[in-house]
Each structure stands twice: as structure tokens, then as C-alpha cells.
Symmetry: C2
Subunit: 220 residues, 2 copies
């Protein structure tokens, strides 16, 4: 059985939606995530159900089967490994790699991804701090907290960002925020929930609530 690029993309979208919400994944959520008409999604869901990659009940939404889950996990593994390659080896910035990885993840061949993983030194996180499942599909979990939830005085090491959009990442570059730096919360303004933080023990900046919610740190 062959799985097409389009099918892979649907599986990945379903996986990612299911990750957030724990109910069945609805047609419209998928349509929104994929920028397609709901009718196209219904079409595809039938095909994926046919191939036993999802459990699909009309009007009730879908769930990945074990096979579907495995495929989606592998796809995410490939995507994130390619992102590491693009940043670490080719020198791309972290806001430039998404679209390329989106293409590279569909290149077929087990040995390729295993060798790439090896070449990169089995990285466990991608350039945005997202975990990379290993060859057996196992995830590495970390105890991360949003900067927006720190108490004044508390600090942590930046280990992830929730928003991967270019403008956000470039803004972080501009204010000197990158993975691995220390962020200490100095104060919170009650009115708009913006926070004052100290970066790397040096610069002090104010972050809007929206920005602070998108920064993930490991406390301590």
C-alpha cells in the first residue's frame, strides 16, 4: 500500500490536532488546519479510513489507528530532523526552515532518515525546541512552563517556542531571545499582563502577554 504526500499531510494534521484537544478530530478542524474545503476533507477521510489509517464515523470525527499514528510520528520525526540539518549544517535561521522541511519530510526511504539522524548525532529536539521522536516512535518529555506563568523572581532556561511563525521568531532574534538562554521574570503589569524579564542576566525587556505565552522554559 502506497501512501501519498497528501495523505501523509492529513495524518500529520490529525495527529497535531488530536495532541491538543482530546476529543475526536472534526472535519472542520482539519479543513482549517489544511486550508482546504470541508468537502475535500471528507473525501480524504474516506480514503484514509479505507486504508485503515484512521477510524472514521460520519459526522463524528476521526481518530488515528495504530498504523496512522506510526506514520504521523515518523513524518514528524523526519520533519524535525531535516529542520535540525537545515539549521545546524546548512546555517539557515530558525524561521526559514519550515517550508523546506515540509518538502523534505516526504522523501521516502528508511535508511535515509536513520543515517540523517546518526549524522546529526541523534538530536532530541528541533530548532524550535520541539521533541524529535526516536526511531521507535518514543517521545522525550520535559517539564516546561510558559513564561507568562512564572512568578516574579523565578527564572528558567528557554527550551521551546509555541508559535513558529516568521514574524514572531524574528522578533525574538531582535530582542536577543534564543533557545538555551536564561529568562528571569522581574515583574508583571496587572493591567495587560505584560511582563518585564531579564535576558541572559543582562538585558531587561518587556514582553506582551501574547509573547510570554509562547515562550517555554524549564524552571530553575
Amino acid at each position: 500500500m502506497t501512501i501519498t504526500t497528501a495523505e501523509e499531510n492529513y495524518l500529520k494534521a490529525i495527529f497535531k490536532i488530536a495532541e491538543k484537544e482530546d476529543k475526536a478530530v472534526l472535519t472542520n478542524s482539519i479543513a482549517a488546519a489544511m486550508n482546504t474545503a470541508a468537502a475535500s476533507v471528507t473525501d480524504m477521510l474516506k480514503r484514509l479510513a479505507e486504508k485503515q489509517l484512521i477510524k472514521y464515523e460520519k459526522y463524528r470525527g476521526v481518530e488515528l489507528t495504530e498504523d496512522g499514528n506510526r506514520l504521523a510520528t515518523t513524518l514528524i520525526r523526519k520533519h524535525r530532523l531535516w529542520e535540525v540539518f537545515l539549521v545546524e549544517k546548512l546555517g539557515f535561521a530558525w524561521d526559514e526552515v519550515h517550508d523546506l522541511a515540509e518538502q523534505l519530510e516526504h522523501v521516502q526511504g528508511e535508511p535515509l532518515i536513520d543515517r540523517l539522524d546518526n549524522f546529526l548525532g541523534h538530536p532530541r529536539f528541533d530548532p524550535h525546541g520541539d521533541p524529535i521522536p526516536d526511531a521507535q516512535g518514543r517521545w522525550t518529555f520535559r517539564q516546561q512552563v510558559r513564561v507568562s506563568l512564572l512568578q516574579p523572581g523565578e527564572k528558567g532556561i528557554l527550551t521551546g517556542v509555541d508559535d513558529h511563525a516568521t514574524p514572531f521568531l524574528q522578533y525574538l532574534d531582535q530582542i536577543g531571545v534564543a533557545l538555551g538562554i536564561e529568562i528571569q521574570l522581574l515583574d508583571r503589569t496587572e493591567y495587560d499582563q505584560s511582563v518585564q524579564v531579564r535576558i541572559s542576566g543582562k538585558t531587561e525587556v518587556t514582553l506582551s502577554e501574547k509573547v510570554a505565552q509562547n515562550l517555554l522554559v524549564i524552571k530553575g
Copy 2:
């Protein structure tokens, strides 16, 4: 204007056929090269002509336009750079990389290929000794001769192989023949045109005419 993967593959096939024969490239040659029905080729030729990538005259064959030539050259550049990456960086054998490169060559993004080229140190030849056009589409030419045409006593450095098929390449591995080694022609058997050669100044082996024709050396 978007160029699809299928279109790219046709352009590449046309380029490669035109390289060998200097007449117009005929529908059936393309069909043979691509393993498709002649009717499918005609279909595609119309589309490529529409997009000004080929000059097409019914029943008369085709020729690449400047745009078509540029696209085909870039595709070959991408293919061969990826092959270098797979062999040099990921440790694949030279007979394992074709299919992967065939997929990787279709990943879109100028910066990607330029950075890859840079990462690899601007290689001018791929793992089979084929030249890699530079970013401006310029080729490196070499004065190569087939081992089958050497005179007894003459020697050369192996710089290329004409057949890229796995069985041939694995046979070469087995008898210790790799790019860069020295090959000296000792004797030729008139009956079947097989040749006795000395490899790296050490081993002596007999090569069939077919094998000798597929080995390219620079004399001296």
C-alpha cells in the same frame, strides 16, 4: 508559473537524450526513457510547449528552449549535489543514492541548493564522476577516454562510470575499482575484446569489453 515534478522529469529526460543524439528528441525515446506510453508523452509535450519550455513540432520531435535548458540543468545540479551529500556525509554507497537523489532533486528553494553546494565545498563531480553544473549552469569538461580504447601499456586515473546500475557498481566494488584509482591496460584479447588491466599498480583482473567501455579514465 509553477513547474510540477512530472514536468521537471520530462525536461531532464529530454536534456539527457539530446546530450547523446544531436537530432531532435523523439516522442518514443522519451517514452522509453520514462517508462510511459507514447500517448502520455504527447500529452506532456503539449503542456511543456504551452509553458515555453520546449519547441515542439508535431511528429518532428522536440528541443529544449533556453528556459527549459536552464531548468533541466538546475535539476541535474540538484540531483548530483544531493548524491554527493548522501555519499560523503551520510555514508551511502555509490549504488544506493540514485532513487533518493531522484526525490531530493525536486525539493524547491534556491537558497537550499546554494547552501548545500557550499556545505559540500562546491564539488565539481558527483560520486559517479559526472560533472555538477555550477550555480550559473556552467559545466566542467574533462578529457576522458574509455578503458576499452586504451593501448596496451597505457594507463589512466578512473574518473567516471557510464553505467550507474547497482549490479555494475557492486561488481566494481568487488574487484576493487573505485573513482580515483589507477588502471593500466596490460593486454587485449582480440577474440572478445576483453582486456587485462592492472588496478592501483597491484591486482590484475580481466574486464569484459562491456565493462571496459563503461569505465572512463583520464590518461597519463
